[in-house]
Every structure is written in structure tokens, then in C-alpha cells.
């Protein structure tokens, strides 16, 4: 056992050894080798790429993981604690805007061109990708959601089980048919204002309204008996990067585990620039990547897994002009969109600023809306993430009129007694919402940047109207007051979730209308697989990452089985 610990420290105690960088450097010194040959190459180390690496390395394959960012050290490269005043000079001098070191320092904000209704694209360039900055919300899609898919809930359920066990997910068993319970650790309770929202929901339910108000489910361990990662210490910094590696990320769980098999070679600060195919474009032979020093290196593989993100994977297929006989690459793009309603509860105005940090802002969820019977004005549905609690580092209510003692009092009291209701609705797929290549703008390797097109339609507007009306009803039923709400819903008042894009490489059984088959394998290029959320066939209101991980696990298992049968050649 001691030996095991020593080995693991080599992989995991990043603050001391930076072992990832060491491994990487070792590789670098070998790169004069004319050819590097692997069984499988995975590109992108976010939630999907991380899990594929883990499953395939454990199945005994020699895996290369190619990631354009570097490995970060929890608590050093990102740490939401400490004094803003003490860190201010050093942080601003280094060109950062916030006094707190955050994983968001590694965001790539200009790596796309926005067209239409203000789309965004949130890349995070580091080992672990956006699993570093995700909130951990882990909600299973339900049997109703999979009705729009070519696979059923039952086919994915075993992978949800595996994913939740590996990730360490807390939640309460709510018994909801279309958001099934999973493998849960003990739940994290709501704060006072959230409990009052729940009270409002219960009152509306008593009058016959169909909705549910439950605690959030997150990939954050809460049970000290669970031994895989540290138990959460409820400091509320999840999305800036968990400085004790309690929240699940690709970098703190599947990648170190894959490393331990001895089958993984990690190429950080290595950006894929080309996918190399055979001369009939039916099989991938390998890739080329550029190192941080600008050197181009070839890497051969028997199968390629792309997990670069919904926007980036589509971009690479378009640049290389492959796997697109359907013409669907980049199409069917969708995400979550929404708006906010803020409540205040006068009965809580004078309460103490208790420690409400918890597992970041949203501890509760309004869900179960329009699952059974669709709304007459719109298709699909939305959920509402709810949060509360005073945090002086990011005051939820700061736009308070006046000055002097009254301003001071209002800032404290309003933040203590507020709750935010944050809508997350399914954006209706549209021919005007898609990814293509920018004809002019290029990245530093001379490759076209992606263009992200977004256009809201009547379905989206109608859904947002219903959300605002429903939230206002709940707040009133809870004897709260509406502090702020959009007055009128137009495309201008809606915001897109730039981390939730899915759908550009839609899965399907028909190669004319989809890009990959039901296990994530390209219809056209038989040893090309996709491990990110671009394969989603349809998008419910629930957060994408848990399903991304479950599907990538399922894809990897299918790939491993084919490879073992010798079908990859």
C-alpha cells in the first residue's frame, strides 16, 4: 500500500512534483523520433476526453492524450481564497482583472467569431478543460428526454451509474420520473431563501400546478467515508477551481488513474493542427500537433477520439474536410439560454449573514415543468437553478440606489434575504444557429477560427416568458417580493450559456442526417470517434456534463471492444 501511495503522489501531488510537466518534458526530449505510434489518440482533456482516456488506458491500449493547455496546480494556479487587498498589486500587474487566481485566468475568450444574437464560446486551455470551471451540476437526462434520441435511457443508465461512482455525486433521492435518481452521497441543504422558494412551490402544487423544487446534484463528495478525493469543505469557490481537488475534474480523477496504468502518454501544450487520413479518406492514420516551441510533430494511431468541445471538434472536421458526407457537421447546434428573476424575502432582512457559501451559488433547482404535458406555446422545456446567500466577494445585488448609511444597510440586508432564479431553457435548433469557419480570421497556426451563429426564435421567447411568469408566481406564493425581472422578453434580454453548446456532430442511425452513429463513431471515417457533447441528438433542459461523460464512457467501451476484435487493423 505504501508503494501505491508513493506512486500516486507522483501523479497527484501536483503542488510538489508537477509530475505531469515532467512526463511531458520527457516526451518532448523524445520527439526527435520520426514517428510516435499509439493505439489510440485522444484530443482534448475536458470531461469527455478525460473519461475516454481513463477507460481506454484501463482496457490496455497505449493512449496518447493531446491537450493544448498546460497542467494546473490546485491551490497555486487557482485559489479563490486569500485577501483581495493583499493580492491586488501582484494580480493586476500580471494583467489579470480579478484579485483572485482562478481557472478562468486560462480561458480563451477570442477563439471564435460571434454572429447574430451575441453567442459566446468558453474554451478553457488547461489539462482538464472546462471540467475545471464547471459547477458540478450532475443531472441525468430522463426516459422522456431520450425519446428524441436514437438510444434509450436504459442503454445509457449503466454508464450514468459508473460515471456517478467514479465522480462522487451528491444529491437527494427525489423519485422524479424524468430526472432519475443516481448513485448519491448525502445531500447539501438549501439556505433560508431557497427554503422559502420551496414553500412557494409547495403552495402552487397544492393548487394543482405541476413542478418540483429539489436540492441540486453535484459531482462533489460529501461523505468523509468515501475515499477517492477530499470531502468538500464548503467554501463556495467551485467555479473558480476547487483548490483542494474535491470537485470532480478530468485532471484530478480519470487522467491520474489512466496515468497509473502506464498506458498513457500525456502531451500538454500540444495543439492538434491536422488530422491525417489514408488516401481514400476512410481511415485516420494519425494527427499532427504543434508544441509550445512551435515544432510540428506527427503521431500515428489506430483510432482517433476527438473531444475538443462542440465548437472545436466541428471546426477541426470542417478544416480537414472529413466525416461530413451528411453535410451536417456544425449544424443542429443548440445550447441553454435564459434570463434571471431576483426575489427578496422581507422576513429574512434582519437575519445574520450566516455562512451560506456551500457548494457555490446554486443549491436548489426548480424542475419537472412541462415534462408530462407540453406547454401550448412552446416545445421542450426549462429548469430554474436557484441560489442565495450573501457573499461580499461577489454581491448578487449591488445595483442599489443612494449612498451613505442607507446604502450600507441596503447592501447587507438585500443580499442576506435575496434569492436568484436563473432560467436554463433548451434553445430550439434552428437553421440560423450553427458553427462554420471564419473566412478571414485565423488562429496562430494559420487555421480558420470557428464562427458561432445564434438566432433566437419564437419558441425561445415564449419559453422565457413562461419562466418569468412562473417565477413571479412562486415568489408571490412564498410571500416574497420580486426585486428584479426582465420587463419584456426579446432576443436582447436573453443570454446564451456559452459553456453548454451541444449538437454539431449529431448522432443517428441514418448516415444521411447524422455525423456519428449511436456509439459516437463517424459514419464516414470508421476509426474516428467523438467523445464530447457535440454528439447529442437532442437537448433537454438539464446540464450536459454528466451525460457527456456517460456517453463518452459508452463510446470508449464500444471502441475498445472493436479494437480487441482486431477491427481497427
Amino acid at each position: 500500500m505504501l508503494l501505491v501511495i508513493a506512486e500516486l503522489n507522483e501523479c497527484l501531488d501536483k503542488s510538489e512534483t508537477e509530475s505531469f510537466a515532467l512526463v511531458h518534458n520527457k516526451r518532448k526530449s523524445q520527439k526527435r523520433m520520426p514517428k510516435q505510434v499509439f493505439d489510440i489518440c485522444v484530443v482534448g482533456s475536458g470531461p469527455g476526453g478525460g473519461i475516454a482516456t481513463y477507460v481506454l488506458a484501463n482496457a490496455g491500449f497505449k493512449v496518447a492524450l493531446v491537450e493544448s493547455g498546460r497542467s494546473l496546480r490546485a491551490g497555486v494556479d487557482y485559489n479563490g481564497h486569500g485577501s483581495a487587498y493583499a493580492q491586488l498589486e501582484q494580480r493586476l500587474k500580471a494583467g489579470h482583472k480579478s484579485p483572485f487566481p482562478s481557472v478562468l485566468d486560462f480561458s480563451e475568450r477570442n477563439h471564435f467569431t460571434a454572429v447574430g444574437d451575441r453567442p459566446g464560446h468558453g474554451l478553457l486551455k488547461a489539462l482538464g478543460g472546462r471540467s475545471l470551471c464547471w459547477a458540478g451540476h450532475s443531472l441525468r437526462f430522463g426516459p422522456g428526454d431520450f425519446k428524441r434520441w436514437p438510444i434509450s435511457y436504459e442503454e445509457v443508465a449503466p454508464y450514468y451509474d459508473r460515471a456517478e461512482r467514479l465522480m462522487g455525486v451528491y444529491g437527494s433521492r427525489d423519485g422524479l420520473w424524468n430526472m432519475p435518481d443516481g448513485v448519491f452521497q448525502k445531500t447539501v441543504r438549501m439556505r433560508c431563501p431557497e427554503m422559502l422558494l420551496k414553500r412557494g412551490v409547495e403552495r402552487l402544487k397544492a393548487k394543482g400546478r405541476v413542478m418540483e423544487f429539489v436540492t441540486q446534484r453535484k459531482a462533489i463528495p460529501t461523505d468523509p467515508a468515501w475515499k477517492r478525493r477530499a470531502t468538500c469543505h464548503y467554501c463556495g469557490q467551485c467555479m473558480n477551481g476547487c483548490d483542494i481537488d474535491s470537485k470532480y475534474t478530468s485532471a484530478n480523477t480519470p487522467i491520474p488513474l489512466a496515468m497509473r496504468t502506464g498506458n498513457l502518454s500525456l502531451f500538454t501544450e500540444s495543439t492538434m493542427t491536422r488530422i491525417v487520413l489514408d488516401n481514400v479518406n476512410r481511415r485516420v492514420r494519425g494527427i499532427e500537433y504543434v508544441t509550445s516551441s512551435g515544432q510540428t510533430v506527427s503521431l500515428q494511431c489506430k483510432a482517433l477520439v476527438l473531444a475538443c468541445s462542440t465548437v472545436e471538434t466541428a471546426r477541426h472536421l470542417l478544416i480537414n474536410n472529413i466525416a461530413n458526407s451528411s453535410g451536417q457537421v456544425g449544424k443542429n447546434l443548440t445550447s441553454h439560454f435564459g434570463t434571471d428573476v431576483v426575489a427578496i424575502f422581507p422576513e429574512l432582512r434582519s437575519r445574520d449573514a450566516s455562512n451560506d457559501d456551500g457548494t457555490d451559488y446554486f443549491h436548489s433547482l426548480l424542475t419537472g415543468l412541462h415534462w408530462d404535458k407540453p406547454h401550448r406555446d412552446f416545445d421542450m422545456t426549462y429548469q430554474v437553478q436557484c441560489g442565495a446567500g450573501l457573499n461580499p466577494k461577489s454581491l448578487a445585488i449591488r445595483d442599489v440606489p443612494g449612498y451613505g448609511s442607507q446604502l450600507k444597510r441596503d447592501l447587507r440586508d438585500l443580499n442576506v434575504c435575496h434569492a436568484v432564479m436563473d432560467m436554463q431553457g433548451s434553445l430550439a435548433p434552428s437553421p440560423r444557429t450553427y458553427v462554420d469557419l471564419d473566412p478571414e480570421r485565423k488562429d496562430r497556426h494559420g487555421l480558420p477560427l470557428p464562427r458561432v451563429h445564434l438566432k433566437y426564435g419564437p419558441n425561445d421567447i415564449a419559453m422565457a416568458r413562461d419562466m418569468v411568469e412562473t417565477c413571479v408566481e412562486i415568489i408571490e406564493a412564498a410571500k416574497g417580493e420580486v426585486y428584479s425581472r426582465p420587463r419584456e422578453i426579446t432576443a436582447d434580454t436573453l443570454g446564451i450559456d456559452y459553456n453548454h453548446w451541444v449538437g454539431t456532430l449529431r448522432m443517428g442511425t441514418d448516415s444521411k442526417h447524422s455525423v456519428v452513429n449511436t456509439v459516437g463513431q463517424s459514419h464516414d471515417v470508421t476509426n474516428l470517434y467523438v467523445g464530447d457533447s457535440s454528439v447529442f441528438a437532442a437537448y433537454p433542459e438539464k446540464n450536459p456534463t454528466l451525460t457527456n461523460i456517460a456517453l463518452s464512457w459508452r463510446m470508449s467501451k464500444s471502441l475498445a471492444e472493436r479494437a480487441k476484435k482486431g477491427e481497427l487493423g
Binding site: 497527484l12 481564497h81 487587498y85 427554503m195 475515499k227 483548490d243 461580499p392 446604502l407 447592501l411
Partner: protein
């Protein structure tokens, strides 16, 4: 990999992570010499002006110490020292507008005004907060926003005013247990 094996591996991860948790520090109090700080963006008199205006926006009162005690002036000067030219210009011209107003009204620069005169300036600036039209009025939201941010992030604001007890490591998150807040 078998589940059992996974437990073995990750059990060790936990040891490493726990050791890290024990060493790391939350809510460190800064050893910072705000009194001795020399402004880099503002002139000395502008620095005093900002300190005085911030103290009117967030005053020391029976609730808690205000912007001066919190060191808000230090925060604002540091941020502006590293800010883009457009933001810097906004503050420079805002301060000029303040001085122009006091010179026209009281015949002296803002820093030389009495406490009562300074209050009058801020009252005028804040008069049309929602719909500012003059240079002076437009400066107020800029000034106030940064003052509130600086105060909220200071040790004084965070702990003494807001009574914030978070940003710390705790074993269990209790949440709301008040019987009167539970749904029936």
C-alpha cells in the same frame, strides 16, 4: 478496472489531498501598509479627494467602520494604475468636474471644502443616479460602483459590516434548519 482496485488507488489520492487541505490557508489577513501607501494614479490631493468622497458614500456609522478605515482609496488607486486609458480618462475628467463645481460654487477645490460643502457636492452628484446628464452626475455611478466593490472586498467591509463568516473550511454545511422556513 475493478471497483475494489479503484478504491485502493483513490484512497491514496485522498491522503495527498487531505494533507494539502490541512496546509492551505483561508481568509488570510493582509499585512498591508495602507497608511504608508503613495498613490500612483492620483495626485496627493486627488487621493485625498477620493478618500473623502468614498467616506461619504460608505461612511463610518453605528453599523460599522466606513470606506476610509477599509482602505478603499488604496484599492481604487491600484486598480486605476493598471486600468486601460479609457477608464483612467473617465476618472480624471470626473475629478476635474468635481473641482469645477466646487470652484464655481464655493470658490475652492474639493479637498479644501468643509465637510458640509463636500456633502453638498455628493448630494448633487447623486441627484440623478438613474438618469445622469451632466459630467458630474455621470461620474457618480463610476465612483460608487468601485467604492462598493472596494469596500465589500476589504477586511473591514467583509467582516465588520457584512458580518460574513464564509470563505472558510467547514466540516459540514448546515443550511437552513429553521422550523418556520420548512415547507409543511
Amino acid at each position: 478496472m475493478e471497483r475494489r482496485e479503484l478504491f485502493k488507488v483513490l484512497g491514496a489520492t485522498l491522503v495527498a489531498a487531505r494533507e494539502g487541505a490541512a496546509q492551505h490557508d483561508h481568509g488570510t489577513s493582509a499585512v498591508l501598509d495602507i497608511e504608508g501607501y503613495k498613490p500612483r494614479f492620483f495626485s496627493d490631493s486627488q487621493y485625498r479627494a477620493i478618500d473623502a468622497v468614498a467616506e461619504i458614500i460608505i461612511p463610518t456609522d453605528s453599523q460599522s467602520p466606513g470606506a476610509h478605515s477599509a482602505g478603499v482609496r488604496f484599492y481604487i488607486d491600484t486598480v486605476l494604475h493598471y486600468a486601460d486609458p479609457e477608464t483612467q480618462m473617465k476618472w480624471k475628467s470626473g475629478l476635474i468636474a468635481v473641482d469645477e463645481w466646487t470652484r464655481a460654487r464655493f470658490g475652492k477645490a474639493f479637498v479644501d471644502c468643509s465637510a458640509d460643502e463636500k456633502d453638498q457636492v455628493v448630494a448633487t452628484m447623486a441627484g440623478k443616479e438613474k438618469d445622469p446628464s451632466t459630467e458630474l452626475e455621470r461620474f457618480f455611478p463610476t465612483l460608487k460602483q468601485m467604492t462598493v466593490e472596494a469596500y465589500s472586498l476589504s477586511d473591514v467591509g467583509m467582516t465588520q459590516h457584512f458580518g460574513y463568516r464564509g470563505n472558510t473550511a467547514i466540516a459540514e454545511f448546515r443550511g437552513c434548519t429553521h422550523p418556520e422556513h420548512q415547507s409543511s
